[in-house]
């Protein structure tokens, strides 16, 4: 185990970076500091992967300090197998976001990078928190810079989308606040481990589950509270979309795993069928709505609804393989939706249009771009050998064990997913070159290839060796599912 507080450094280094960026005077300084800080954070996080004990379900890299002595609440950080991959994902995507914003963001650059760095602090902090108050603090901390990122640097309808995002998220999280206060009142502690051992009184679990679900469902987003997502994702700047799709959506599902399952096991079983129904509706309905989109970004945004439906389906199968598949799929979706939004953002920077009809035949003009996009699109359909395949297989298998209909509908979602992804690829990349694209230099430059390359490598690597993620999950997921007799 390390001697220094590695998780706190990873969490607060970006915050220090944000302060530095704001104190600096020039835009170039802001970009470089931002890049250096995010890279440094990623480097700091690497030992979390290499030094992680995969046989243990206990919290690792634990830190604890006196925070609010009057309420007997400590500042607690630690990682288990479930949270560890998300920290790495957040750190990696942050670096890429800085990279993709290098030329795309030209106004108020310092504030942009400061906001981006604060979101990184919030993301990493959230996944490291071992008590509910700290979790809540980072949860809410995420909202403000994200609101600014969408509203200041977003597309034409950015303000309305930003406000919608803010109100949806806050409406969910205030109910979580009441739930948290109620837990604190009845248990006198907010530490996850203590709470899981002590157990929440059975009669309170149902409404606490609903209160927390309000917060988590909005972020995931689950049907029917997903309506903020297409607007926010579409209007956000590329970096904002990547963070939203790549990490923010995972925060909701992570909340289900970290809070709802271990703390309210009785309520989870009580609400199992409605949750499964909502998941399947999200998968199928999300896929159909995705098929109809004419805007590239909106299409990818809606596909997230469908894909996150798989994640919640996997979680609520309460099956070892299903939950592991859900977590793997969260990582996969983080990589792929991040990559797809990056691809869209890169070409948007050149064409300034998001309408699918304005594209066509990009492959002739930009072969490298087309190849990378092909890889990510195929991966998103669940193509064997690429990363989504394993996750979807695990989830669908677990869904069939829960009930034939869940599995059948999930399969239908997979089929539709293939259709909309391949169709998108066909319309954008294949066929004759759209006359509107004449005279534009579409091919990626070295910086952009370097941004997409790590994600492409991960998409292949996790497809061939899913154990890179899965091996860390077995112990923690087993422990999670054995608490409160979830199985």
């Amino acid at each position: 185990m390390s001697e220094y507080p590695i998780l706190s450094i990873a969490t607060f280094l970006p915050l220090v970076g944000a302060a530095l960026v704001l104190l600096g005077r020039s835009d170039a300084f802001a970009r470089w500091i931002s890049l250096i800080i995010t890279l440094a954070t990623l480097v700091v996080c690497l030992p979390l992967y290499t030094g992680f004990d995969r046989t243990s379900s206990a919290l690792q890299f634990v830190e604890s300090a006196n925070w609010i002595p009057a309420w007997e609440i400590t500042y607690g950080m630690g990682l288990d197998g479930i949270s560890m991959p998300f920290v790495l994902l957040a750190a990696l995507l942050s670096v890429l976001c800085v990279g993709v914003s290098w030329t795309a963001v030209g106004s108020r650059v310092r504030e942009f990078h400061a906001a981006l760095l604060v979101t990184e602090t919030a993301m990493i902090g959230l996944f490291c928190s071992t008590n509910l108050l700290l979790f809540f603090v980072f949860w809410e901390l995420m909202v403000v810079p994200m609101f600014l990122l969408i509203g200041v640097w977003g597309g034409p309808a950015r303000v309305a989308s930003a406000v919608k995002f803010l109100l949806f998220t806050l409406a969910g999280s205030v109910l979580m606040l009441v739930g948290m206060v109620a837990i604190y009142h009845s248990c006198g502690s907010l530490d996850f481990v203590v709470l899981a051992e002590a157990g929440i009184p059975a009669e309170q679990q149902a409404w606490l589950f609903v209160a927390f679900l309000a917060a988590f469902a909005v972020k995931v987003p689950m049907f029917p509270v997903h309506t903020w997502l297409p607007d926010a994702h579409t209007e956000a700047p590329t970096a904002g979309s990547v963070i939203l799709a790549g990490v923010l959506l995972k925060m909701g599902a992570y909340g289900l795993l970290r809070v709802s399952l271990p703390l309210f096991p009785l309520a989870v079983q009580q609400f199992l069928t409605p949750m499964l129904v909502l998941s399947v509706v999200a998968i199928v309905y999300g896929a159909y709505v995705t098929l109809m989109q004419t805007d590239v970004k909106r299409l990818i945004a809606y596909s997230s609804v469908s894909h996150m439906g798989f994640v919640t389906l996997g979680i609520f199968t309460l099956d070892q393989a299903g939950v592991e598949g859900a977590i793997l799929q969260m990582i996969n979706h983080g990589i792929l939706s991040g990559a797809l939004f990056l691809c869209v953002g890169m070409i948007y920077e050149r064409t300034h249009t998001r309408e699918i009809a304005d594209y066509g035949g990009v492959a002739r003009r930009a072969p490298i771009y087309a190849s990378l996009l092909a890889l990510f699109c195929l991966a998103a359909t669940g193509f064997p050998g690429l990363n989504s395949f394993v996750g979807e297989l695990l989830i669908v298998g677990a869904a069939f064990r829960s009930g034939v209909w869940w599995g059948a509908l999930a399969i239908w979602g997979v089929v539709l997913g293939t259709v909309y992804m391949v169709w998108l690829f066909y319309r954008v990349v294949m066929g004759p070159t759209n006359p509107g694209l004449e005279g534009l230099k579409l091919e990626l430059n070295a910086r952009e290839v370097a941004i997409l390359a790590p994600l492409a490598v991960l998409a292949v690597a996790l497809g061939l060796a899913p154990d890179l993620v899965l091996s860390g999950l077995h112990a923690s997921v087993g422990e999670l599912l054995s608490t409160g007799g979830l199985r």
């Binding site: 925070w67 009057a70 108020r108 901390l141 200041v152 806050l170 409406a171 205030v174 009441v178």
Partner: protein, 473 residues
Amino acid sequence: MSADMLVGLGLMVPELILIATALVLLLVARRVKGTQVPLALTVAGALSSAWFAGAASCAEAITGFGGMIVQDGYSQFFKVLIAMALLLGALLSVSSVKRDEIPRGEFHALLLLATAGMMISVSALDLLTLYLGLELTTLCSYVLVGIRVDRKSSNEAAIKYFLMGSFASAVLLMGISLIYGLTGSTEFTAIATALSGGAAQSGPLLGLAVGLVAAGLAFKVAAVPFHAWAPDAYEGAAAPVAAFMASGPKAAGLAALGRVSLVALGGASELLTTILLILAGASIVLGSVIALSQTNMKRLLAYSSIAHAGYALLGLGAGTSAGATATMTYAFFYVFMTLGAFGMVVALGKRGRNLDGYRGLAEQRPLAAACMLLFLLALTGIPLTAGFTAKFVVILAAVEAGHVALAVLAVLCSVVSAFVYMRVAVLMYMSPASESAPERFPVSVSAAIALAALVVLVGGILPGSLAPWAVFP
């Protein structure tokens, strides 16, 4: 002079400092015209008063003047808070006093006397002392609201406030006289003994008395339905006066309500807590919802202060000392966040009046916009600001007392108010500027805003930092 008298005066040192400063100011008012001497004296008075209040030993309660006033942790806590509100209010007033040619000596003397009145009311252990303290504050406030004598809006606001304020004072006094009639005393402890001993008939008359006292005090904290004066008075008053009125007197009113409800009327607690909870719920809902339609910043903050009075009352509505502690915390942080937000209105001058004036502020003055954003987030109750700490403790108090539905209502209304506050943030950050950049802020105004921002941040990052002092005895 008897020994009791001396003890009493000793307990009143913070008030006496303020009164003495005010008297000196009135004596030299003509000589110090156009100088910053009144401000300097007020700042010195506020600081020394706060220091004496904070340094006083409050290990055990000491009563003075035959049990009319008391010095305990509760009174000292609020005295320090009220002195800080005076300090910030005085610092904020610089530019407005200069622009509107307000007579400085008199203006600051009124601020000081109003503050002395608040301090008396928070240390009162007798309904009459309480009434005297509150009246001193209110009388000074009437004049402060109307101090810009050449402005119609200011006069109108002062008259409206005066009419409604007098009515509320009469209501309070009626309640006090009924309680005196029922229990034979105006002293808190004696009232409590009489009520618990069953010597007083609990019946419709007691209900009426409790209701009237609660209504009179609810007027002071501008809780719905006794709130109608606040938006008009704040709008008509100069911005620093509005800032002062939204902070100190509200804290004093909450403190008085806390002591009355827990110490004096504990015997009628069920009725009283019901009243307080209704006041709280109505204030939160109406304050948040009506703020939605405001385009004038002072009116917006007035409705926000009404909603916040409701949140603070949630603590008292629990009817326990833990609940009162929550209200103390809420009042403390509320004072700083509201003074900070009003401070920004003051600092922006003409531009700060209407919401449209905030357009594009982030590009013109990034630091000012960031401070305003911080105060708005605090008023919304976002973590890492003191507003969250405050909200957490009152929601906890409400949940502990079993009012979960009310707690849910309160947090849902905070989403409504988030929309209100974030509208300003949207204008600051996401709209192009329509006016030229504001002038440099005066040093004292910047200092006041910085102090408020510091408290709001520290209170948010270390939520327990206030806990050793915010204890209901």
